[in-house]
Amino acid sequence: MEIGLFIVGLIAATLRVATPLIYGTLGELFSERSGVLNLGIEGTMFLGAFAGFAVAAKTGSLWLGLLGAIVAGVLAGLLMSLLSVRLGVNQHVSGLGITLLATGISLYLFRVIFGESNVPPAIEPFPMLQILPESNVLAPITNQYLLTYIGILIIPLVWWIIGKTRFGLKIRAVGENPEAADAAGLNVYALRTYALMIAGGLMAVGGAFLTLAQLGSFTFGIVAGRGWVCIALIIFANWQSVNVLWGALIFGGVQALQLRLQTLGFKLPYELFLSLPYVVTIIALTIAGRNASAPSALLKAYRRE
């Protein structure tokens, strides 16, 4: 029974840890499939966490908070598009610039809005869904946040949009061969801009999950490299939406396991565990090497002659 409870708790925690990663990675997937490596992800998630929290705290509505996060994320995507798509600026540097700006702006505005108090401001976060009664053994697994369920359901939706719709086909076309796509009459700039806007919105929801659901408060270390984990997961997932779920669950599972073992008093160098996804990704890249099926036009700015 003891071990059963442990496993149930582990699965429940895994789903919670995986949720922001699912949103972030799906966002990055849109961006990269259209040919743009968006290193703005870390900052966009942070901005989403902040904007969601600030709007929710000021309006008293968590849903408006979520909307605010999405708007902020879409704006960050637009800025990324202006630089890396319209002006053709180097994607690494503009992406990192977005991360630095989004992080700086969030921290600055947080201090402007909430001042410098010793008691961090807090909101009443989203409740967990009560699908099974608390008495049920499996309740911790099923009784998750609505955003977790939405995140899992979005995966097949993204798979369908990218793989089966005309819009998805166009996104893939500009990501694989923008010259040919342009010759076929597609607007490369506009399509990449749409992809980056969707990407920004999804990343911001991933960040907002942390403030609006999981924690109910905003701390400066809240995103703590989750965006970079998403960059890693997308390679691990070989740019396929369905694999994103497995990647996020495996990472979430390792993280949840080390947290549980730690609370049980095992002395683990957990900091080294936290590095596992990065190490695994570098190894995965090494094995895949030149065969990694990244979109062909990734990192290449398109310039119409």
Binding site: L37, L39, L79, L82, L83, L87, G88, V89, N90, H92, V93, S94, L96, G97, I98, L100, L101, T103, G104, I105, L107, Y108, L109, R111, V112, G225, W228, V229, I231, A232, I235, P269, E271, L272, L274, S275, Y278, V279, T281, I282, L285, T286, G289, R290, A294, L299
Partner: protein, 351 residues
Amino acid sequence: MKKFRIERAPAPGWMRTLIPIIAIPVTFIITSIVIMLDGANPFTAYYHFLIAPLATKSSAIEVLVKSTPLLLTGAAVAFAFKGGYWNIGAEGQLYAGAIAATFVGTTLVNVPPILGIPAMIIGGFAGGLLWALPSALLKVKLGVDEVVTTLLMNSIVLNVTSYLLNGPWRNPVSMWPQSPEIDPGTVFPQLLPRTRLHFGIIVALAVILISWFVINRTSFGLKMRAIGLSKEGARFAGIKVDKTMLTVALVSGGIAGLAGAGEVAGIHFHLIDAISDGLGYSGIIIATLGGLHPFGVSLAALFIGLIDTGAQTVSRAMGLPIYLGDVVQSTLLLVTLGLFVLQNFRFRRVE
């Protein structure tokens, strides 16, 4: 009638120099909005930002203190970018240099400075170099994109640092998550009494001069610049692209490592989690602002050092959040990047 036409052609050389200079006022106009959001006067804020830090001798020296690691991370990033290697990992290489320097400084006991200081420099360089090694090897041997691997190496070294400080290196006396103090013989000497200005800035300036010489006056520099312009072209010209790029990547890592060694040996005298707090990422801003030229990089590093110091002044004097400095820095980067597009166009008179 004379008319001007805008056409797509490389702009004259002075345009490249002019761009960062135009970017500064544009940035300040944009960031005034953020300042006014807090109900403050942007002019007063910019006075405290840019002029006040230079008004007293002690704060002007503090600008140099803040610029010391920035000179090195900026030079490290610029060196790599110039050679066509997208090293995003200066932050991690700085940490690795700091860890290696701490190891040297806490292992040596009662050394004379004449041995201790060079040991710290070599240690810092070696640490940064080693941390840059996996990404560099993967790049040249297997063609693995260095952007992602150098970025991920940053996250890994943060965890390693945190592990060391909470585990084997935790200060046994205070139990704080910081390493024991380094040996006095390995401390970088102060350059001016009662200030934090230390020997590291001389190391930084020497690195800038050497990198200028290597890039512009040696055959190696010619090769790396050729690779930076076009890998295919360089390969066609018979340059050993892989070998040159490997060297560029490792030297860049080593330079970033020196920044970490300087922070340990000149400022903190032990290792802490927050030894950098983004100095490596600022290096990318500085390299871009400085047009990847060592002297441009030095000016940019001093300017970013001024902004870092100014953020503290403005925060003390007007109560504006200190993060204004980050906002100004990152806006400056994005504005400069946007304006660089100007160098693809030139005006031409048509009759």
